[in-house]
């Protein structure tokens, strides 16, 4: 064989092998976390292992639409995970445990199902003390209906209520423990011994609710609501978010059953502007529902995503659909 032929063959073989080998090698050296819509598999991998104190370097890419990434109960900005592009983040965990990571950009009806776990192993300096949620310690059934027996006939004004409250001794009910454990209706009942009219009582109740709420809480709660809840529950809390139709459609199928009507009702997102449900719900019940989700509906569980403080902020914001808090 002529020398030129040999060299040519070597070049061709080398070029072809490189064209195959180099991409495969480099690809195998780049472990990526793939984001896909839940219907197509969600996060892949969906369990990531890490060690306490060791930086965890992640490279994320989306295989379909724009997703987001954040780790629950960690103070971090959520990351945008764009299709076909790679975003990087380094996380360090102080405590061992199972952390939930989740998608933070609305990517479809099943967006909330896009979650994964980071298993952080190792020992921590102090063991975490875990306390039961308030609704558990109060033995409240968050699946039971909680409709108020009496409803305010007009929107309540915390400002008027504040004026009225000055004339009353509300120490027993105007405190955090009472606020968290009781519904506005239960607070209203506590005022039955006073000589106030119904509307006035509701005004006082709303002022109690307002005084257990700070502007920062409301601002935080609003932001959390917009990012996580509005898509189903609606911008204005009326249960008419962009995905409410899809969720209700899933419930229509249950119309065929004997209790069809009841089941399909249960599928639409809750309407926070409806006094019947809100006024009869205590912050503890609302916290429980947010923590655990379910209730025979598509409500996700947020316990591993939000911190306790974040949930109280959200709860505070939810009541603003009932009571006209001052800015």
């Amino acid at each position: 064989m002529k020398r030129s032929e040999l060299i040519a063959r070597v070049l061709i073989l080398a070029g072809s092998l490189l064209a195959v080998g180099v991409p495969i090698y480099l690809w195998s050296q780049t472990p990526l976390v793939h984001a896909q819509m839940s219907e197509d598999g969600g996060w892949s991998p969906d369990v990531i292992k890490a060690d306490v104190g060791e930086p965890l370097h992640l490279k994320l890419t989306s295989d379909d639409v724009v997703h987001g990434f954040a780790v629950g109960q960690m103070d971090m900005e959520s990351l945008t995970v764009a299709p076909g592009k790679v975003t990087e983040i380094t996380l360090t965990f102080d405590k061992p445990g199972i952390y939930t990571f989740y998608c933070t950009r609305w990517c479809g009806v099943n967006h909330w199902r896009m979650r994964g776990a980071i298993e952080v192993s190792g020992s921590s300096a102090q063991p975490d003390v875990v306390s039961v949620p308030l609704y558990v310690s109060l033995n409240l059934d968050i699946d039971a209906p909680h409709e108020a027996l009496v409803l305010p006939e007009a929107p309540s004004s915390p400002m008027r209520g504040q004026e009225l409250a000055k004339t009353l001794d509300l120490a027993a009910i105007n405190n955090t423990d009472f606020y968290r454990s009781n519904s506005p209706y239960q607070a209203y009942v506590q005022l039955s011994s006073t000589s106030l009219t119904d509307i006035q009582k509701w005004d006082v109740v709303s002022s109690i609710w307002q005084s257990n709420t700070t502007p920062e809480q409301l601002a935080n709660g609003e932001q959390l609501y917009r990012q996580n809840c509005a898509a189903c529950h609606g911008e204005n809390g009326a249960g008419d978010g962009a995905f409410a139709d899809d969720i209700a459609a899933a419930g229509d199928a249950s119309m065929e059953s004997m209790t069809g009507a009841m089941e399909s009702m249960m599928q639409t997102p809750a309407d926070f502007t409806d006094p019947k449900r809100m006024v009869g719900a205590s912050p503890a019940i609302l916290q429980g529902k947010i923590l655990r989700g379910g209730m025979g509906t598509g409500m996700p569980m947020w316990g591993s995503i939000f911190t306790e403080e974040q949930i109280w902020d959200l709860v505070a914001y939810l009541y603003s659909f009932q009571f006209e808090y001052e800015n």
Binding site: P23, W27, D63
Partner: protein, 445 residues
């Protein structure tokens, strides 16, 4: 010689560049490596088409170069550098450069007569066309199809003689060949008598200097570009220096219309698919896109049926109507095939106009795909984060209009010449071209 022709190979440096195997090999290696890389990118890269090298560099960059430059100006110029037949051909020849002393023994069967036409190419193009919505947007499908073509070509080379894949199966080769008749470049013999006197015909059978025509063409009889792949072997083997590459007027080949049904139907396939794509891929009708994309659903079957009906029924059917004038005319088949050559420049311009749209819209993806071909977060040339933006959009509509109107004029002239040969009026065919051009204009603008 007829018409004005400029013999490019009269220039010594052009000639030596074309004959020398090393520059050609260098291009071959680049193309093959790029092709293999495209397969890999499709199979292991990001599934997001706009960020994957395989989609961007095959269906946007390569397609743009093919339909806007290579075919109109160089005819089968792409075939001259295409990597698909190369591994098979090297195996078949037993060498990568000049012919070896000992030739390997492959089957070297002649392709059966039944398949020695472009019907298989018509079918393979249609197969890709019906799945195009998925193929053109899904990297791993593109990777699989590219790999399949490569392996098919290798397989065919070990069984049949010459470039069986290229000549009889390649979906792209079908229309490149048809449209190459319009190009201003040709490979032709210089003097017929020299060929008549030549005993061995090494241009067809090969010699120590080179291989016999891999396209199964007898260069001495070449009168049209359709099947010559510009591989330059015959220029290397001709002992009398009787073969030249010429520059000539556009569409010189259409002065001698073909009388082949397979080519006539290729013209309809290309015309129809350009119009259907303009409507489905570029139009505002979401339901059509869904039908085209959701392969296997009822909607897709209806889409496929309509597609085939337009191409094999409606378009040729209306064309038939323009040929019904029988007085004193040539036989029907001859009328049909030679007048359908008017659809060649028309179809080419339809494809140019259609391609301009999606190429200018998507060309900016080339920057990102160049720097991060697999979507792994690389930034090889620093262009990975260049955002998408449509390019030259103000130029698009005028360019498309120019192309379509130019195509109409070109096809009308072709129709006139062809009609004259078969003794019918060219007017109905011109009206046909006018109507289809108007539909295409409406779809695109």
């Amino acid at each position: 010689m007829l018409m004005s022709r400029v013999e490019l190979t009269r220039s010594r440096w052009i000639k030596s560049l074309l004959i020398n195997r090393y520059p050609q090999l260098a291009v071959f290696i680049m193309m093959l490596v790029g092709y293999i890389f495209a397969i890999l990118a499709g199979l292991i890269g990001t599934p997001v088409g706009s960020h994957n090298f395989s989609i961007v560099f095959v269906w946007i960059a390569w397609w743009a170069i093919l339909i806007l430059i290579a075919v109109p100006f160089f005819g089968r110029g792409w075939c001259a550098v295409c990597p698909i037949p190369l591994p098979g051909e090297w195996l078949q020849r037993g060498a990568v450069l000049a012919p070896p002393d000992k030739k390997p023994k492959w089957l070297n069967l002649r392709v059966p007569k039944m398949f020695r036409n472009i019907w298989l190419q018509n079918i393979s193009f249609l197969l890709l066309a019906l799945f195009s919505s998925v193929l053109l947007t899904t990297p791993n499908i593109t990777g699989i199809v590219l790999a399949a073509m490569l392996f098919a070509a290798i397989g065919l080379s070990t069984v049949f003689e010459r470039r069986a894949f290229c000549r009889y199966l390649c979906p792209v080769g079908g229309f490149i060949g048809l449209y190459s008749q319009t190009s201003p470049i040709e490979l032709r013999i210089k003097d017929k008598q020299t060929c008549a006197a030549c005993k061995d015909k090494p241009c067809y059978h090969g010699s120590a200097a080179g291989y016999g025509c891999p396209w199964d063409v007898f260069p001495g009889g070449l009168t049209k570009n359709t099947y010559c792949g510009l591989c330059m072997e015959c220029i290397r083997t001709c002992p009398y220096d009787n073969i030249a590459v010429n520059m000539r007027p556009f569409s010189a080949d259409l002065a001698k219309p073909s009388t082949r049904m397979d080519e006539a139907f290729k013209a309809f396939i290309m015309l129809g698919s350009a119009m259907i794509y303009a409507g489905v891929l570029l139009g505002p009708w979401g339901i059509l896109k869904d039908a085209a994309y959701n392969v296997g659903t009822g909607a897709w079957f209806i889409y496929a049926l309509v597609f085939l009906t337009i191409i094999f029924g409606i378009l040729p059917g209306f064309f038939l109507l323009s040929l019904l004038n029988k007085t004193n005319a040539a036989p029907f088949k001859q009328r049909f095939t030679s007048l359908s050559t008017a659809l060649i420049p028309l179809g080419l311009m339809f494809w140019v106009a259609f391609s301009l749209s999606f190429v200018l819209t998507n060309a900016s993806y080339i920057f990102a795909a160049l720097s991060d071909p697999l979507g792994l977060g690389w930034n090889v040339f620093g262009t990975a984060n260049i955002a998408w933006q449509p390019m030259l959009i103000s130029v698009l509509a005028p360019a498309q209009t120019l192309a379509l109107v130019g195509g109409l004029i070109w096809s009308a002239r072709t129709a006139q010449k062809a009609a004259h040969e078969v003794r019918v009026s060219s007017l109905p065919v011109i009206v046909y071209c006018f109507v289809t051009t108007s539909i295409m204009l409406w779809l695109l603008l």
